[in-house]
């Protein structure tokens, strides 16, 4: 088909159009002739044969057509009498045809339209007219209708054809459309209102955000610390004013390069700790030095916390680096002071102890055992003073994480025996010793010895004069356990857990009668902890206590 069209030339098309125009004119002329009553019959050429159509047969066709159509069709005479009407019209009036034919048309017009319709019909005799009125329909339901009035000649006399079209559906559709339009308008109004509200909210939020940002900026820029934020991957993306003031660089120069300012000694630790925090989502904390604009390093304490969204996913990191240089230096001074003080206190104690020992030796040589015993007692007190000075120094070191350990491998039983020998010389308590096969321990021999001494000293301090103290060791898999048991006061259950806390001393009526700062067990616990061991106590008030620790064997 397409090909055929394409093959049709322009000339052929012109010819075809001309032929079709001729046919059209011919058909138009035929229709006009029929209308004018000049034709009685015509012959139509069908596919098979010629067929004759008379106008009578045409009338019949139209009549059926008119009867079947939905619209009401009425023909009235010049006097307004209904000459003809179809069933649809009678149905509209809910009357049989017989009660309609021959009646004045005006008769069926609702009272309120009578005048206007009469005028309309009058005018329609000269010119085609149309009007919409309401007909009382079925069950008095008002039916909107369109009246189309046309004049025509019937059997020589003038007549008027009136087509009555039920507009109910159209009106309903229009009404529906109107309603929909109203709804649409309402919806549009609502949408506009919502839009306006949204715009307002956005404006307000923007303003809030701006204020909040300004507020944050104000806060961040005036806080006496470096404030920074980082993206979820740990890349730093914001620094406050103080950072730029501190580094003496401008924004472009230092953008995201925090690590460039960290002291070379701490950069590796910083990278490891920061990566770990970012990977695990745990809080970041580190003390490190940062280089200022003059190239000098100042100590800072940096902390960062992750900010999570509602789904618990990290979206950013907030960090703060506080300048602790002065505190750090003050702390160093304090530490130095304590070191010097401790040294200066120990010097006279050394002299006193030395003279006492020399005197005791002399008295022993002379056979004056009473004087020698008195000097032994003085020596015990000097040792207590020495231990107190050492404890204070140790606590300071533990607090600063500076307690240093001198690691070596040593024979555990040798150490225990050495301490027992030393203690036996100065105590009245009999020491019962039950040592398991010896083993080698890796750690600070002096400090582990300090723990054993502390256990025995406590046992002596809190048990009656000359009450026995039992020292025992046991092997437990790859660990060695040491127990020091006394038969003294014992410790109330509720205080046993606190006994290893700093400055803790057992409460009781006689607490003040027992000397000490409450530091010995705290230091012991720290020492054992640092050696990957555990420390504990088992005690029944009134029956005595058993202190123990266990350490890994090499």
């Amino acid at each position: 088909m397409k090909e055929m069209q394409i093959k049709t030339t322009y000339g052929e098309l012109i010819t075809q159009i001309r032929e079709l125009k001729l046919l059209l004119n011919e058909a138009q002329e035929t229709i006009d002739a029929i209308r004018r009553g000049e034709v009685d019959a015509f012959i139509v050429k069908n596919n098979n044969a010629h067929e004759v159509y008379t106008l009578k047969s045409a009338d019949q066709t139209y009549r059926i057509f008119i009867e079947k159509m939905m619209e009401g069709a009425v023909t009235i005479s010049r006097e307004g009498i209904i000459l003809y009407c179809n069933t649809s019209f009678a149905n509209m009036l809910q009357l049989p045809l017989t009660k309609v034919l021959g009646q004045p048309f005006e008769h069926f017009i609702p009272t309120n339209y009578k005048k206007s319709i009469s005028r309309l019909i009058e005018m329609a005799w000269t010119e085609e007219r149309k009007a919409e009125i309401i007909f009382p329909g079925k069950n008095k339901k008002p039916v909107p209708v369109l009246l189309s009035l046309n004049t025509m000649e019937i059997d020589g006399g003038p007549a008027m054809s009136i087509i009555v079209t039920d507009l109910s559906f159209q009106k309903e559709t229009q009404e529906e459309l109107r309603q929909k339009n109203i709804q649409l308008e309402q919806a549009q109004l609502i949408t506009k209102k919502l839009n306006d509200e949204l715009e307002q909210t956005v404006r307000e939020r923007t303003e809030e955000l701006y204020k909040s940002r300004e507020h944050f900026k104000f806060l961040a820029d005036n806080i006496p610390a470096i404030v920074w934020t980082a993206l979820q991957d740990g890349k730093m993306d914001y620094f406050n004013k103080r950072w730029f003031d501190f580094t003496g660089k401008d924004y472009v120069q230092v953008n995201n390069e925090f690590s460039l300012f960290i002291h070379p000694d701490e950069i590796n630790d910083f990278t490891v700790l920061w990566d770990k925090a970012v990977t695990t989502g745990s809080a970041f904390e580190m003390v490190h030095r940062l280089k200022d604009g003059h190239g000098e390093y100042r100590w800072h304490f940096s902390q960062a916390l992750p900010f999570r969204n509602d789904d618990n996913v990290i979206v950013a990191w907030f960090g703060i680096s506080t300048d602790i240089d002065e505190q750090k230096r003050a702390l160093e001074k304090k530490d130095e002071f304590i070191s010097i003080a401790s040294h200066e206190l120990k010097t006279p104690v050394t002299s006193i102890k030395g003279y006492v020992q020399l005197l005791r030796y002399n008295f022993q040589q002379e056979g004056n055992s009473n004087a020698a015993d008195l000097l032994t007692k003085a020596d015990v007190q000097i040792n207590k003073l020495t231990n107190l000075i050492s404890d204070l120094l140790d606590v300071k070191k533990i607090e600063n994480g500076q307690l240093r350990y001198h690691e070596e491998k040593f024979d555990f039983n040798d150490l225990v025996r050495e301490i027992i020998e030393e203690t036996e010389r100065i105590t009245k308590h009999p020491l019962e010793c039950e040592l398991a096969a010896t083993c080698t321990i890796a750690g600070d021999r002096n400090k582990i010895g300090q723990v054993i001494t502390n256990f025995i000293d406590n046992a002596a301090k809190y048990s009656p004069r000359e009450a026995v103290i039992k020292i025992k060791t046991l092997h437990k898999k790859d660990r060695i356990q040491l127990f020091v048991q006394d038969f003294g006061l014992g410790i109330p259950k509720d205080q046993q857990a606190k006994i290893f806390e700093r400055f803790f001393r057992v409460n009781g009526e006689k607490e003040n009668t027992y000397a000490g700062l409450g530091l010995g067990l705290y230091i012991s616990a720290e020492i054992i902890k640092r050696h990957k061991g555990s420390i504990g106590v088992d005690s029944v008030q009134g029956n005595g206590s058993t202190f123990n620790f266990e350490l890994p064997i090499v």
Binding site: S339, T347, T350, G354
Partner: protein
């Protein structure tokens, strides 16, 4: 008789140490000036007892000089101090041993005896 050179800036401690060591049968040379070790009239000692913090002199420097000197590098040095880092210092400056102040006389004598018998062998 083994000779021991003692240096401490506290004359009392110097006196105490001398008495204790003499009692134990050692020949002692005591000085508050540690530099005297380098021109000891009685010749080189068998052991040196050295304080660390002395007024004007640091025992660590003396130890370093001793260890750098061919004549003195094999003389055992024992630090004697109330310094809480004495064990680390001992290791760092290659001293033979240390004695923390205040000290037990028995402990001091035992340690010195052990070291001197060791060097004799």
């Amino acid at each position: 008789m083994k000779k021991i050179f003692i240096s401490d800036d506290d004359p009392d401690i110097l006196e105490i140490l001398s008495l204790m060591l003499k009692m134990a049968g050692y020949e002692t040379y005591a000085s508050t000036n540690a530099n005297d070790i380098f021109n000891c009239p009685a010749g080189l000692p068998d052991l040196i007892l050295l304080d660390i913090w002395m007024s004007g002199i640091d025992g660590r420097d003396i130890c370093k000089q001793l260890k750098e000197n061919e004549r003195t590098k094999n003389i055992p040095v024992v630090f004697l101090s109330a310094n809480s880092r004495i064990n680390e210092i001992t290791e760092e400056y290659q001293a033979r041993d240390f004695i923390a102040k205040p000290f037990e006389m028995d402990h001091l004598l035992k340690k010195i005896s052990t070291i001197l018998s060791g060097t004799t062998v």
